[in-house]
Amino acid sequence: MDFLNALVALTNYVIVPGMAYGAQLALGALGVTLIYGILRFSNFAHGDTMAFGTAMTIMVTNGLLALGITFGPLPTALLALPFGIILTCLLVLGTDRLVYRFYRKQKAAPVILVIVSMGVMFIMNGIVRFTIGVRDIQFADGERFIISVRTFKEMTGLQEGLAIKATQGITVGVAVIVVAMLFWFLNKTRTGKSMRAFSDNEDLALLSGINPEKVVMVTWMIVAALATTAGVLYGLDKSFKAFTYFQLLLPIFASAIVGGLGNPLGAIAGGFVIAFSEVTVTYAFKKVLGYLLPESLEPSSLVQLLSTDYKFAVSFSILIIVLLFKPTGLFKGQSV
């Protein structure tokens, strides 16, 4: 019984939040990794692209709610998500046309593109602040729980409760659908195949008649969709605040690099590695150990390895360790 209680506590505080956070990071890292694979630079504006997409989705959600449209038990934001994606697509395609294309034509060094993306980051951050402000915004509606602590306790008779928030379930569900669609697209369609060819060997791809501008355009559209989805899921699960999204840049980059930059499978694995390490290292294991150990050995302290404020340090340390010992990432990524 004690063992079951320990397992439930662990699931409740580590596994479920870790899964949801991991899915969000994985979607974010997929965007970063695609940009890196096709356009060959680290996009620092990615966090703010996510923020923009989420801001647009929130505004459409508010519009829908004002019209009296809801999505039943699901959050209305999911209904608004396609509109958010379309608006974000327009923004990133506009940015590419106005800003990035010039440097692509010049064949500028990747580091110049990174600096350019810093400028884009400033501008997108400004746009988000203009349109929606800097406040903390909660926009999750619909059902709150898939399983609440009380129902779980009644169902199982265990002392320890398990709660799965609806947003956590939705996050994982949507992420699975999105990733499945992405891999189907990359592996089965003609455009997807040409994208992979372009990523593997640009010269050969150009030689075989692949239109680079089309590949770049499709990449930006996919990245916009991924970034908006990731941003909306993160916002539903926690809350939306422009600055938090900028800070997500670090764990997202860590996920992409740990998995191997340019490798979509790696980005997903990296997302979960980073998420679970962050949650595990900053979780206080007192409760779990209390169930498992005999009373005499029960810990008196919290058994928390690091305080939650150091979660950046966790993703960062993993990043450094991987870079030092396996520079191309866990899955073989590109190295330029």
Binding site: F41, A313, L319
Partner: protein, 450 residues
């Protein structure tokens, strides 16, 4: 020749921006010398940071976006040097904390040597991991005990170790200690840069960028959480000052008389006097650093650096040790950022870890360097002055734009309210726009490298 005319014009233009701020309240200018001097002292600090980043990026092509971390370490140095030692803190746990930290350092160093000396294999990996885990718990046990002792001492007012100021109650009489703190801030930042450089400099440019970004966030996280060090988010207030206090000047009959002879009332005169004091001190530091950087740029060492930047392989073939040179310049540039950070905390008279934002302390400095002209020290300094002016003035400028565009609308029209709301967020947008425009149309900056 045309280039020097252009440079002279640019310098005059930027200087006039600051003079106008003090001299006239026309358009967006406030017409207050007080605000002009305040802006100038922050611009001087910004220019010094830009000099540091220019050393790394302009000379050596190192992409460091962790400037904020080094600036914050400089600020920490000011507290550690100039604040009074908290009575009893060292005996209550200070030494224990120190021992804990040494224990942690010894663990890491031993682990590094284990990796280096033990025979390769699975055995080595597991031994090292086990050793690290054990070391971590030992470190936490000693360290946490010491921290609890220090933080228990009057947490509302101190609860930290304090600094090295031996003045006790009268610590504010030792204001010159803050000036001592500036080079100490540089040293602290240099030490951190050495550790980071040792681990991360071998990586490619965008990995180094992410690594420095992460380090900066971690330094801020440490400063926010470790209350025993500098009170964390409770902030350290009332740092001593290297310049006299306004109230003392106002009570000094000699000063009041002098002020009256210039036709100034004592209050205005005293604020101007102290602000001028900071400006003079900062100018001295900037001039010294600029002179050193200029000497470095034109020395054989500077030529070697640029050679490495332009073609690493060729420089290596010529027998230059690229990694060592990169480490060297990374440390130097970071030290300059640390000095600037210590100066900034001195100017603020307080250390507020939550005020360190990457957009303001890292990316803004980058905008300064790129706009000014990377690779040219004078350009970076000019960029510092220009961009800081813009950073401050964008708000009144935004309000002015909002006023002009909405003047035809009623006071409560939604468009007008929206525009006035947006004016406050004009800053980041403008910075991004300036950066992109310069990168596109004048990629070498306003004062290009020769």
């Amino acid at each position: 020749m045309t280039l020097t005319y252009r440079n002279a014009f640019l310098v005059l233009f930027v200087a006039s921006l600051y003079i106008l701020e003090g001299a006239t309240d026309f358009w967006i200018f406030s017409g207050s010398w007080d605000s002009s001097l305040k802006m100038l002292s922050f611009a001087l600090i910004g220019a010094i940071m830009a000099l540091g980043v220019n050393l790394q990026w302009g000379f050596a092509g190192l992409f460091n976006i962790g400037v904020m971390g080094f600036v914050a370490l400089g600020g920490l140095a000011t507290v550690l040097v100039s604040m009074p030692t908290t009575p009893g803190a060292w005996s209550a746990g200070g030494w224990t904390i120190l021992m804990g930290l040494i224990l942690g350092a010894v663990t890491i160093v031993t682990a590094v040597f284990m990796l280096r000396w033990l025979p390769k294999g699975r055995m080595r990996t597991w031994l090292t991991i086990a050793f690290l885990v054990l070391g971590f718990f030992a470190f936490r046990a000693v360290f946490d005990y010491g921290v609890a002792g220090v933080e228990a001492i009057n947490p509302a007012a101190t609860g930290y170790l304090g600094g090295l100021n031996w003045g006790g109650e009268n610590y504010k009489d030792y204001g010159w200690l803050t000036i001592v703190a500036w080079p100490v801030g540089g040293l602290l930042a240099a030490g951190a840069a050495w550790i980071i450089g040792k681990t991360a400099l071998g990586l490619r440019s965008d990995y180094l960028a992410i690594a420095t970004l992460g380090i900066a966030e971690i330094i801020i996280a440490v400063m926010k959480n470790e209350d025993w060090l500098a009170r964390g988010v409770k902030n350290v207030n009332g740092l001593p000052r290297p310049v006299p206090y306004e109230i003392d000047l106002q009570n000094d009959p000699g000063f009041v008389e002098k002020a009256a002879s210039y036709g100034l009332d004592p209050v205005t005169a005293s604020t101007l006097y102290t602000k001028m004091g900071y400006v003079i001190l900062f100018t001295i530091v900037l001039v010294i650093l600029l002179w050193l950087a200029q000497r470095a740029l034109n020395s054989p060492w500077g030529r070697m650096m640029r050679a490495i930047r332009d073609n690493e392989t060729a420089a290596e073939a010529m027998g230059k040790n690229v990694t060592a040179r990169h480490l060297q310049i990374f440390i130097l540039g970071s030290a300059i950022c640390g000095i600037a950070g210590a100066m900034m905390t001195t100017l603020d008279s307080q250390l507020t870890p939550t005020s360190y934002q990457p957009l303001r302390f890292t990316f803004l400095i980058w905008v300064m360097v790129i706009v000014g002209g990377s690779g040219n020290n004078f350009g970076a300094v000019l960029g510092g002055f220009l961009i800081w002016w813009l950073w401050v003035m964008v708000e009144p400028l935004g309000q002015w734009i909002a006023e002009v565009t909405t003047s035809g609308f009623a006071v409560d029209h939604w468009f007008r309210i929206r525009m006035e709301d947006a004016a406050a967020h004009f800053r980041l947008f403008t910075m991004g726009l300036v950066l992109l425009l310069v990168l596109r149309f004048s990629p070498r900056g306003l004062m290009p490298e020769k």
